[in-house]
Symmetry: C2
Subunit: 725 residues, 2 copies
Amino acid sequence: MAEQALKLRPISDSPEAGQPYDAVRSILDKVKAEGRDSLTAPEGKIVCDAYGIAVPQEGVAKSSSEAASLAEGMGYPVVLKIVSPDILHKTEAGGVLVGLKTREEVEKGYESILANARNYKADARVDGVQVQQMLTGGQEVIIGAVTDSSFGKLVAFGLGGVLVEVLKDITFRLAPATHEDALSMLDGIQAAEILKGVRGGEAVDREALSDMIVKVSQLVSDFPEISELDLNPVFATASGAIAADVRVVVDFSPQPERYRPSQEDIVRQMNRIMKPDAVAVIGASAEDGKIGNSVMKNLINGGYKGKIYPIHPKADEIMGIKAYKSVKDVPGVIDVAVFAIPAKFVAGALTECGEKEISGAVLIPSGFAETGNVEGQEELQAIGRKYNIRLMGPNIYGFYYTPQNLCATFCTAYDVQGTAALSSQSGGIGMAIIGFSRSAKMGVSAIVGLGNKSDIDEDDLLTFFEQDDNTKIIAQHLEDLKDGRSFAEVAKRVSKKKPVVVLKAGRTSAGAAAASSHTGALAGNDKIYEDVFAQSGVIRARSLRDLLEYARGVPVLPTPKGENIVIITGAGGSGVLLSDACVDNDLNMMSMPDDLDTAFRKFIPPFGAAGNPVDITGGEPPSTYRNTIKLGLEDPRIHSIILGYWHTIITPPMVFAEVVIDVVEEMKKKGIHKPIVASLAGDVEVEAAAEHLYANGVPAYAYSTEIPVAVLGAKYKWARGAGLL
Amino acid sequence: MAEQALKLRPISDSPEAGQPYDAVRSILDKVKAEGRDSLTAPEGKIVCDAYGIAVPQEGVAKSSSEAASLAEGMGYPVVLKIVSPDILHKTEAGGVLVGLKTREEVEKGYESILANARNYKADARVDGVQVQQMLTGGQEVIIGAVTDSSFGKLVAFGLGGVLVEVLKDITFRLAPATHEDALSMLDGIQAAEILKGVRGGEAVDREALSDMIVKVSQLVSDFPEISELDLNPVFATASGAIAADVRVVVDFSPQPERYRPSQEDIVRQMNRIMKPDAVAVIGASAEDGKIGNSVMKNLINGGYKGKIYPIHPKADEIMGIKAYKSVKDVPGVIDVAVFAIPAKFVAGALTECGEKEISGAVLIPSGFAETGNVEGQEELQAIGRKYNIRLMGPNIYGFYYTPQNLCATFCTAYDVQGTAALSSQSGGIGMAIIGFSRSAKMGVSAIVGLGNKSDIDEDDLLTFFEQDDNTKIIAQHLEDLKDGRSFAEVAKRVSKKKPVVVLKAGRTSAGAAAASSHTGALAGNDKIYEDVFAQSGVIRARSLRDLLEYARGVPVLPTPKGENIVIITGAGGSGVLLSDACVDNDLNMMSMPDDLDTAFRKFIPPFGAAGNPVDITGGEPPSTYRNTIKLGLEDPRIHSIILGYWHTIITPPMVFAEVVIDVVEEMKKKGIHKPIVASLAGDVEVEAAAEHLYANGVPAYAYSTEIPVAVLGAKYKWARGAGLL
């Protein structure tokens, strides 16, 4: 770990590469030996020095010229202090001078301090005069580090002072942070403008500040026992950054080891689970209303083509399929076992699965950690580890994987194939996903229940869906992340390829309290989730409906090739609301070039509004929509289009929809494929028109100006995070 | 106006009641006479003194004891400064002493300043020593006033310093502000906590600060020519507030007079327009596709029972109704005329309406200000004033008033009677209102298009709907307020009786730009709208969908009797999201009393979660929902209930809906009527269940945890603003 640290730190280029680590190590060993839980100020200074974190410079001079040389070296102003074991009250003795600004002042100051000391106490032993860098001006900031139970080491940055404490204007990144992460932190606070210099103030040295952030993040990553670190305040000026005060808290108690299979193992096992050749149903039943019956029905009626093995202690066959008493009696290989038996029988059956070398167990039964039966769940985890079975659940509805027509669940079947992979921690939310999907005809590749997450977690799913060609977007509802560090690492990689959307429930304090009572997991600080999601390229949904709409709409849209967005609208009023929504969603409304403005004007009435939005006005025929949309698609300076339709007799809703679809198809044939979303204002016929548009690749919404723009905004967030813009 | 001002100001209780006004008047007269546009610092001080706005005290002492007396009077610390025409560089002359804290220091200081002066320049004439109150410590704040083109005089409050300028943490109220308004401003900034004292700092004197805000607001109200005023900084301490610097900008150009009929006139005329006994259709037509034909069809087929007079230059009858060449030919009284003729003919026909003493003109035609024809619109306004005709539009779809079965519009008819009155500035948004209403079966009392708002404005509608027994909620889409002052005054009164919900489009800068190009009206600073809406009890919708959902849901809910909300949920996951939504909507989740917790626990499984949310768990029968909901309704400590339903076979969606409706009805018979909203998670059957619940008084939503809570939140916002909680 030290090696990795040294590779990242500039300091490592020096010949003393091993020394910084060793210097800190020996301090920490001493603190541990003495049973302390924090470092003294001098120890803190040594740690900072070792990692190249600037603290006020100081030195002891034995002569006035030496004092002046020290001062020159550290820069003015400086403070001079008498160093004498016999003088306790330095100020009283005239032994302190502050704010010395020139060589002459320092030399004179040195002499006058010595003279004052002699006057004060003629026989005092004088060891010299301490010269210390004096910190003044600049912007006070805070750089710190914390240890989060889910995310591990995090580095923090904020502005110093009361206002920031009150406004909680602070930002976090996973440690170690890259230089880019650190720079993004300077822009990641609300008051970022202050660092750029306001009201005649100078801009701070961004390199120096971000360098200090990187070093702090590296330090705490190198030494997990540093549980908290505060540089507060750090004085940031135009020419550097110096930490005036250092506080280091340590915790030597051993960190719990986390079980982390390799990415290869995850892919291999998750593929066997999600795309099995053979499924066993433990607790299969022919009796209506039983969970084991629902699972059987869903497997059979859902159209699953692999082998199905009902497991039942007595039955010879269930629903026409030969049954077995145990998975061990099944002649062939089994990939996954779906459990539909009471909690108390699960451990025994799971052991048999292990002996049968089954890759995954879908643990539908409840009655484990969520009801207080933590030991029961730990027993399952132990069996899972022993036999290398991956566990989904317990306390789940199961899962759907539509490319295999696989409904390994007791819920209603779902068969609209598509590219959105959804998951939920909660069963209720899972049902909402299924209902919404069916209602909105959303094509899904998978819906997965994670429940108690005794083993399979969000990042296992990310790893599977990353390499699953049937999945184009991953949307997850979650209440906690048992291993946020692992999630972030995987999400950072996966989100470069496919959009990852997350609804983090329990994001407010009341919500977090409910999360705690629901899952027994402590919900983390929401600001940490916010920042780590951003750092990992995760798109955060603010509501259940947003999660679902993003899952539905984002994969329908092509990836935009640039930031320029144009609104074309028949209703000026919609144009205003769509513009509002653009700002809300960080979308850039193109400033309309004159020639393009002229080109648009050719198609619209003279009183249509200029610029962007392009207001074609309400009474226009289909050709006006066609001409303007076509122009918007053809002009390479425009990258995405937002449509505002106004229901009129001249251009009825379905005619509008057909025009849009037709132009889009025509352009596609020419190789032009840009994101288009639409907002439809009108009587109820607009609902069918919106549905028709959606089915043809144009996310469209009736009576809403905000949702279509939010969907486009999600696409842009992803494209930016993935480095495609 | 001065009298009114003096009544509000404490200063007016003094015998010199007329003097403050006169003092400011004479300063302003002088500034005007001299052709200046701002006041000098001494003039600013006189203005502040006149209105009792504290500025640093000062006086000139001729002796050390006089200096001490002055200092005692103003409080320590003080500054002493030599007063001498012969000493220009006071500091150089040793003529300034700062931070004197005791009587002794002042007396000694006086003498030493005189001595220094003599040393410096023996023959200098010395007029005395100025004693000035020294402002130190405390919190720097800003109190100011601006003149907004729509809202008129506004008072502003914020924290001083760079951070606030960067974070734009400032709040506005209409001037004059009441003491309560002023106090609410202290709590209305993000950093409000700072004023309460943080990190050992003292809390500021809230009375002194709010008193200063009130006085500033009164000053600018008394003197409209004061266009801007800044007290910056104001030093706020635990014992008072003093403005260290005063800046007053004046504008003596005459203010445009606004046309404001009396509230009585508005009510009388709006009643004739909205509930007419006779309607003329100018430009009535028998020809399909013509606007005048659509209007006739809507009037006849909509079921309007009053008299209809088609006006047409040639026809004798239209759609079986006798037609007239002019309104003047109609024998009886006409209340309102609906215009369906080209723009160029409108003025002439409007004059005839005036001669016929018609109360209102519904100006559907476009081709006025929105197309640049400002003169044409001004001509209509002049005719309207001359004949006292109120004008709706031009450039509108018309209006609906369902209690009269009146569809005075060319759009599709709408007939679902209800209690929501909606209006829109834009025709497109009007169509979205109609479509949504029909789709959601939302009962409406009225839908009104306001378009160019040449005359009838949002506040005219508020005044009408206030006294309209058929209306229980007023929901308005607007892009600008031509007379925000009038709107705010009326809304403040009306919102005490009925919820007023507003979607202000153009709230972001891009949106505002679009608003400007659309209506030619400059969209105001959004923060001003935000604060004035809050001050006026207006509930602000953040999106079109919110506006519509609030209009639909809020009137369905009874008014809550208290702030305690309990969530009862079958899905723990929904409980967490519903809790999040409570925080987002400023709703107070009740801390569950022990006895009530025990009572709930009796009905739920042992592993159901304690507290609030009440997690009844997923597998429960209808009786568990029934028992817990009943308990929640019966216990007087609970004021509102949020339900989270999870679709299961044991309690299917419609069974859940019936149980809820049944319990609610049962409780109503006992006189218990509390707000209940529901979030339904499940397969598509939950949609019908939600609709059934809604139709029976329980706003319910499928696949959304946020919308039901937002609707409840809107009800609470209204109830709080109306003083009912």
